[in-house]
Amino acid sequence: MQIQNEPISEDVMGWLNHEHVPSKMFTHREFAFTLPGDIYLRYNSFMTMEDFRKQVLKLLPSRFEIGAVYSAMPKDKKTLRPGVLQPILRELVFDIDMTDYDSIRTCCSGKGICKRCWGFIAVAVVVLDSALRNQFGFRNLLWVYSGRRGIHLWISDPEALALTDDQRKSLMGWLEVVKGGKEQMKKVNVRFGKGGVSPLHPALNAAFQHLKSSFYELVLQDQDSFSEEDNWKVLLEYLTDADMKRNLREDWAADLNRTSEEKWDDLRKAMTAAKHKEKKGHATKSEAQKDPNEINVPVTDRYTAAMEDIILEFMYPRLDSEVTKHRNHLLKAPFCVHPNTGRVCVPVEPEHVFDFDPEKVPTVQQLIKELDQLGSETHHSGELGEDVPKIICQYHGPPGYESDE
């Protein structure tokens, strides 16, 4: 392992600033510090990287967050006329948090995370990464492990930086699929028309192609999510056929040991039978009452649609939309150390996201130990506080950022 000469701070600078001389991208940028004892300092900004470094070493914050580039220097907030300090530029950011998956994961809960439930995050990364590249045409995507139970995405294309709040909201509307509060049982409503079975929108179909294979492995086999009554009840919400719904509900309520795979199989069989029956012209009772507009929808039948929607409900990325929609939201900086877990917020490459193991991410304690060994080997001198970040930087460069040089 070789220690680089550049301290981390210059990398942060390069990434935030897009060049190596401080510009407004840096000097008008908001930084927020969290100090021990839950003291939260917003609207800091710095003239040079050196100022920033000095302040960090002086305050020793447990973490720092990065905000928008403002129309004036955020540190002058108090002396500026109200309304003058407006966010102008901001990376397009996303936050995916494992807690939004608590109802469907069975291996961990709350603050816990393991390689198994990481699968949900991994799928989310693949789906979002491809949507943002292929549909929106973004190129500079930096995925960063949040240090505990989620992942952040920073997009720093010039076009992304310039998006207004309204445009961010539209983009979020495009991406968001799983919607509704706790009491909303059926959280996916993506079909149009009175019959409710229009084919999936091409963007959702692209996502669906990523999701379906993982659904089998993750939801049915690994997590066995439908062993929980709350979850299989959600599944039944998607069925339009009252008889089928009742039969399955009774069967599953009576057999508590029925696995998710078996339940999914029950569902498929019931649907195949119902389809078969329809073809023969023996319409079931509920079929006879169906909306006449439904007849003209030959592309997707309602059974296929229901299965697709269920897979979307359980696998589609669950996003914290507020973080993305507002330019003035702050997000923990990449390469920080999570104050509770000690884990470093390392970049994650989407191609290898399935191999990522959050429990194997180096902690700051491990890094210090490694550094001590290295220090004695190479006779490197210098203060520990400065060296730790060097290692962190060396551990993973920021792959999402391509400098203009």
Binding site: N134, V178, G181, Q184, L200, H201, P202, N205, P298
Partner: protein, 479 residues
């Protein structure tokens, strides 16, 4: 966006108002023309407040426009269309000056100008429209036929067009344009286009949406610029009073917001449990119940419920008591640090010192969609039917909302008439006939309206029966 036309020769009835007028104008015309425009815009605002249909509103507005600010198409004979367009142009810029000064005024001005533009758009001939669109030069790239055919399944699925039996594929090929996605945010937000590499593939028939967006974006931006330039106008003491007067006219235009509590209705923290039980709509009962069970509410829940309680008549002092007791699981220190400021803020005692009004139903439907663990929002809109049914029976079961009336309510919910469902619950739980609503047949549009009417009905019931009717009262005549 390139300049459209000069003020001297506006080529169509439509104007995106890019260039300020260069003409000289008398002070009298300055004011009178602006007032004429104001009549139209204020009526648009009022129509929104009264929740009139777009059709009704556009009929009224078209008639008003013909009277105060007619805009004939270029082909019109024996009419001085240039003079009409000049008046339109100048009055727009005068009102910009009047309404650029606060965020709220800007918002309302943009909304009513947008709506008027749309009404004009829908009412005019296509030649006039396409000339205007061409002049906008929005950077549309026609999609070549080859690409169109290769992408046809995606394009059709994106615009929710399904192939009908007995038709050929050629019948579905229409003209598409590639536009950068940020130019059509509303189509993107509703997922109504096909998106590839940052470009939205927009069917020709969606043109209008793009034009409206361009108008909207442009006007918002221009108003901000006007706001910055405005201080210089302060020196002209002839103009300022006129502008002041004009903007007042707009503020008075809307009346349906519940800003202030009736002093007779004021409540204290310890009364809320009982009032909630007797008078609150389901959304607020749900929040109240969550607060009591969890001893906490998340941010938007606190906001929705807090503003509602403020308008019910809970004073800031009582609000502090109510929330402090409600969040029983936390220390005083934490409460003071994390919640006190926000409560005071919502009473207009901190920050910008805005006296925020409580959320209307419309606002609750369309803003801050509840996340997976949130309890705010409208239960009729955001609960699943099963959970809604059980919530209704729990909260209103002893007031007549029994399982036998649920199908009727759920039916309204399924057809998207959430406020009608809420109104029906109000009627049933207050022993009113169907159709009576919250007074004069009006349906619920605001949670505070629901609670206020409920309390009023109770007062009427409790008031001692007054047998000495004043002479000439309706009762006497009837008998």
């Amino acid at each position: 966006m390139p300049a459209i036309t000069s003020a001297n020769a506006i080529k169509t009835t439509y104007n995106i108002y890019d260039d300020p007028p260069q003409d000289d104008i008398t002070l009298e015309d300055f004011e009178l023309w602006a007032i004429d425009r104001m009549r139209i815009l204020a009526e648009i605002e009022a129509s929104f407040a009264r929740n009139r249909s777009y059709k009704d509103m556009s009929e009224t507005i078209s008639a008003l426009s013909r009277k105060y600010l007619p805009l004939n198409s270029t082909t019109a004979k024996s009419i001085d269309v240039d003079a009409e367009r000049k008046k339109d142009h100048i009055s727009h810029f005068v009102l910009r000056l009047a309404f650029c000064r606060s965020e709220e005024l800007r918002y309302r001005y943009v909304k009513s100008e947008m709506t008027w533009f749309r009404i004009k758009w829908d009412g005019n001939d296509t030649t006039e429209r396409s000339q205007f669109v061409e002049s906008l030069n929005l950077g549309w790239i026609p999609v070549e036929e080859e690409e169109r055919i290769s992408l046809l399944p995606e394009l059709l699925a994106a615009s929710q067009i399904t192939l009908q039996p007995g038709t050929t594929i050629n019948q579905y090929i229409e003209n598409y344009y590639k536009v950068h996605w940020t130019k059509v945010p509303d189509l993107v937000e509703r997922r109504r286009v096909f998106l590839k590499n940052g470009f939205a593939y927009v069917p020709a028939r969606e043109q209008a949406s793009i034009v409206f967006q361009a108008f909207h974006t442009n006007l918002e931006k221009q108003l901000m610029l006007t706001a910055k330039a405005l201080p210089r106008l302060d020196e002209d003491n002839r103009i300022l009073p006129i502008l002041e007067h004009l903007s007042q006219g707009f503020v008075a235009g809307i009346a349906s917001e519940y800003h202030v509590a009736n002093p007779a209705d004021s409540v204290t923290a310890d009364m809320i449990d009982e009032i909630s039980n007797k008078h609150f709509p389901l959304c607020m009962k749900n929040l109240h119940e969550t607060l009591r069970k969890k001893h906490h509410l998340k941010h938007y829940g606190r906001l929705q419920y807090g503003l509602f309680l403020k308008v019910i008549g809970l004073s800031i002092e009582e609000a502090m008591i109510f929330w402090r007791k409600g969040f029983s699981g936390i220390t005083d220190d934490k409460f003071n640090k994390e919640y006190k400021y926000n409560i005071r803020h919502s009473y207009g005692l901190e920050g910008k010192r805005t006296n925020y009004s409580a959320f209307s139903c419309q606002y609750i439907f369309t803003n801050h969609q509840p996340g997976v663990d949130d309890t705010h929002g409208c239960p009729y809109r955001h609960f699943s039917p099963e959970n809604l049914e059980s919530a209704l029976v729990t909260h209103y079961g002893n007031q007549g909302v029994t399982p036998s009336v649920l199908p009727e309510i759920i039916q309204q919910v399924r057809s998207g008439h959430y406020h009608v469902a809420c109104t029906r619950v109000f009627e049933i739980s207050h022993g009113l006939k169907s159709g009576e609503g919250v007074g004069d047949g009006v349906s619920v549009t605001h949670p505070n309206e629901y609670a206020a009417r409920s309390r009023e009905l109770e007062r009427q019931k409790l008031a001692p029966v007054d047998r000495d009717y004043p002479p000439g009262s309706a009762m006497e005549i009837d008998s």
